[in-house]
Every structure is written in C-alpha cells, then in structure tokens.
C-alpha cells in the first residue's frame, strides 16, 4: 500500500508509491550526447567571460583573467538579476514589486573541461567549497542582499547547459520561500522543544541506522524520511551550525570527503545520474541561529513534476528512502567486490 509521509521541518507531504518500487537499474538516465567544441569556461578563453571576482591557484603575480587558475568565479554574462541599482520597493494596490537587483555568479570548479565534481581530487573540491564561503562572505557586505543561494545543476536533465563542471550563486534581495518555510518550521520546533530539529534528526538517524548513507567525524549523509525523489540525500554537519560561511578549512576538508563519497555512491547506483544540489544556510546579516542547521540537499533528477505535483504540492516517490539508503550503503562495497579479479 502507498504511504503518505510528512516532512517534519516543512510539513510537506510526499507519497511513497511502494507498488511502483524499483531497483536503481530501473531508472533510465537518457542524457543527450555532449557535442563538445569551444568552451567559454576553459583556460585560455577567459576573455569570453566577464572579469573574475575570485580565482584560486594562479601563481603569485600572474595577471587576473589569465590561465593558471584552479577555481574561478565570474559574474554571469547574462544574469537573472543585475548588480547595479536600487531596489525601489513599490506597492501596486495589493501587489508588491521591486527592481530585479541581485548578483548572479558562476563558479568554474576546475580548469579541466572533462573533470566531474563527484570524482574530483579532494583537495580541489575543498577549493570549490572555500570559493562558496568566500563569495557568501563578500556578498554579505552588500546591505541590499538577504540571502545567497548556492546550487549546482549536473546533467542536461537537471538544467546544466554546459558540460564543463560549474556551480552557481545568486545573491537575492529577499528570502526564498523555501528558506522562509524552513526557518518557520525549525523555529516552531525549537520553541516547543528547545532543541534544533536537525540535531534531533541526526541523533535519531544515527540511533536507527536505516537512512544513514555514510558519515565521518564532522558530517553525516542521510536519505530524509520524506524525500521528494528517489535517492534524495542531505549532508549535514554533526555539530549544530546555522551558517555555512562560519566553517573553517578543516571542516570544509571533512565536507569534501563526505560529499565526494556521497556522490560516488549515487553514481555507483545510477551511473551518470543528473542531479541538483542546493545549500541551505542561514540568511545574511543574521547571528548564529539555535533553531536552524545548515546543510546540502542533493536531489537526483529521476522523476517528473506534473499536474498532481503542481496541484497538490505532494511528490510521488517510487523508492522508499530506507531502500535507497541500503542501495547507497552497499554501492561502493559492490563496486569493490566486482572489481576483484
């Protein structure tokens, strides 16, 4: 029988359609072939991007916007929101509007065109996480911005338009609805129990050991109790932290270890699966929040959103998270066994 499950933070319902249950190999990933050709993100083509706002790895004294970088952040050439101007908040009767002010940046994660984020060298992945931190800290200096959304689209089906490994940041003058809902949900729980709900989730998941995918000293990956898609995963810091930007280099190194392992487990279950990851962190200009807990959400693109989902806000998921976690835990073990002669 199908099961309705409620996300304890957002109150969002999902349907686990168990009679549709599938094995990882039943999910077909039909990615369009990559045609290749000139890449505007590759070294040597820096003149095709707007001037960089951050670059790591270039030898000391080398000019900006020249090759030699390891990670490079540039403004989006055709941004969804523009950096120059005032917000000019206005009311039009009962409707609210303002100018489309924001910052839209592209994080070029590697100079190597063929690099895949999941398989990157760990030290290099740390540079990417440091770039996220540096850009959040810099954008926080702008009083117009309330939130920095960090996300990655991997694969055409998940919205990636270019195969060169990259992620994006958008600084917004308003809090996204999703974050507002998370802040409200976590605050309600905190007011009732005087504990962070995510800390409680971590404690319970470690105790139950049914939805834990992997963990290290500082981070844990779980399949959430009410996931929107098969193999949805959350990566959370074990200790209570509300802001990603406060993480030190040691924490980011541990994050790279678990992130890499998590994505490799996913890829071992469903090779080449397209996915999105999104950072959920505290709003800009806010102090450490006792009720909120920063984390990454990784959402594989394996199901489609249609009329029922749009109308109800429910998601139908054919893979219970307990089964997904089992597959993910066994993934690399199986890979190692199969690799044996």
């Amino acid at each position: 029988m199908p099961e309705l499950r409620k996300d304890p933070v957002l109150g969002r319902w999902i349907i686990i359609a168990q009679e549709r249950a599938k094995r990882p190999t039943d999910f077909v990933v039909a990615e369009a072939p990559v045609t290749g050709g000139f890449c505007p993100l590759c070294p040597g083509n820096e003149n095709t991007t707007p001037p960089e706002v951050l670059a790591y790895g270039r030898p000391y004294g080398a000019p900006a916007n020249s090759p030699g970088w390891q990670v490079r952040v540039v403004p989006n050439k055709y941004p969804a929101l523009v950096i120059e101007g005032d917000l000019d908040r206005q009311g039009e009767g009962l409707y609210d509007k303002m100018n489309g002010i924001g910052a839209h940046e592209v994080v070029i994660e590697s100079p190597r065109h063929e690099d895949i984020f999941a398989k990157m060298d760990l030290a290099h992945m740390v540079l990417v996480f440091q770039a996220f931190r540096a850009r959040i800290l810099d954008l926080e200096r702008d009083p117009r911005f309330r939130y920095v959304l960090v996300f990655k689209n991997y694969g055409r089906a998940a919205g990636a338009s270019l195969e060169h490994s990259h992620s994006q940041l958008v600084a917004l003058p308003i809090l996204p609805r999703m974050i507002v809902s998370e802040l409200q949900g976590t605050l309600e729980y905190y007011n009732y129990k005087e504990r962070c709900i995510f800390c409680d989730i971590i404690r319970q998941e470690i105790q139950q050991q049914v939805r834990v995918v992997c963990q290290n000293e500082l981070f844990i990956t779980i399949t959430p109790f009410a996931p929107r898609t098969p193999f949805e995963m959350w990566i959370l810091p074990m200790n209570h932290e509300s802001g990603y930007h406060t993480q030190n280099d040691e924490q980011l190194a541990a994050l790279a270890v678990i992130f890499s392992e998590t994505l490799r487990r996913l890829d071992a279950c469903i090779p080449g699966v397209p996915y999105n990851f999104v950072l959920h962190t505290q709003p800009l200009h806010s102090e450490n929040m006792k009720h909120f807990h920063w984390h990454f959400e990784i959402v594989p693109k394996l199901t489609s959103i249609a009329g029922f989902e749009w109308g109800s806000g429910f998601y139908i998921n054919p893979m219970p998270p307990e089964e997904a976690a089992l597959y993910l835990r066994e993934a690399l073990v199986k890979g190692r066994q199969e690799a044996r002669p």
């Binding site: 045609t35 050709g37 000139f38 890449c39 505007p40 050439k77 055709y78 338009s161």
Partner: protein, 116 residues
C-alpha cells in the same frame, strides 16, 4: 567588401537580412542549416557570422562551439527569438546575443561594431 555568413532556416529572415546588409555595403552568404553553415564557414571564410539558434538538425549553439574551435577570434552574433538561451552558458562563446526584432537597429550596430 566584408563578408557576412547569415545562418537562419527561415526564408523570410534570410531575404530581409540579405537586403538590409547588402544595402549597408556587405556581401552576404546564406546557409539554412547548421551543417551547411559549417561547410560555408570553411569554404567562404566570412568576416562575421549571424547565427540563428533553433534550426532543424544541428542547432546554433552547437554550430557556434564548432566555429569557435576553428576561429576563436572571428565575431559571431547569436540572433534568436528566444531570450531564454541566455541561460545556456555555451552562448557565452558568442560575441553578441541579440533577440530578433522587426527593428534591425541593434543587429546592425553589432555588425558595425565588429566589422567597422
């Protein structure tokens, strides 16, 4: 005389642009598909390309990336009815991105900017 390679699958656009750019003093060579565009790009050695995106077969973004592999410095103007292609990072390889309009002023200015 500077030569423009005009790539668009719509005959009406081809006729209009040819007339307008010939009046501006340019030689115009036409291609109706991406594949034909790549052939003429090599055989006609144009000074600038005006490139549509949505075409049957190879689309303009794929053509752009192939052309820039061959001649990275040659100016290519993407000319499309669909603004949403700005979200495709491959479009960054173009020198200009122009949304098609009955008023060709922006397109003409872009061509003049690159061809002098």
């Amino acid at each position: 005389m500077k030569k423009i390679l005009l790539v668009d699958d719509e005959e009406g656009i081809q006729l209009l642009y040819q007339e307008e750019f010939q009046d501006e003093g340019y030689e115009v060579v036409s291609a109706f598909t991406g594949e034909e565009a790549l052939e003429k790009f090599k055989s006609e050695t144009p000074d600038l390309v005006i490139l549509d995106i949505q075409m049957p077969g190879m689309n303009g973004i794929e053509v752009l990336r192939q052309m820039k592999m061959i001649a990275p410095q040659l100016p290519i103007i993407l000319s499309t009815a669909y603004h949403e292609y700005t979200q495709d990072l491959s479009a960054w390889a173009s020198d200009e991105f122009i949304v098609k309009s009955p008023d060709l002023q922006h397109l003409k200015e872009a061509v003049r900017k690159h061809l002098g």
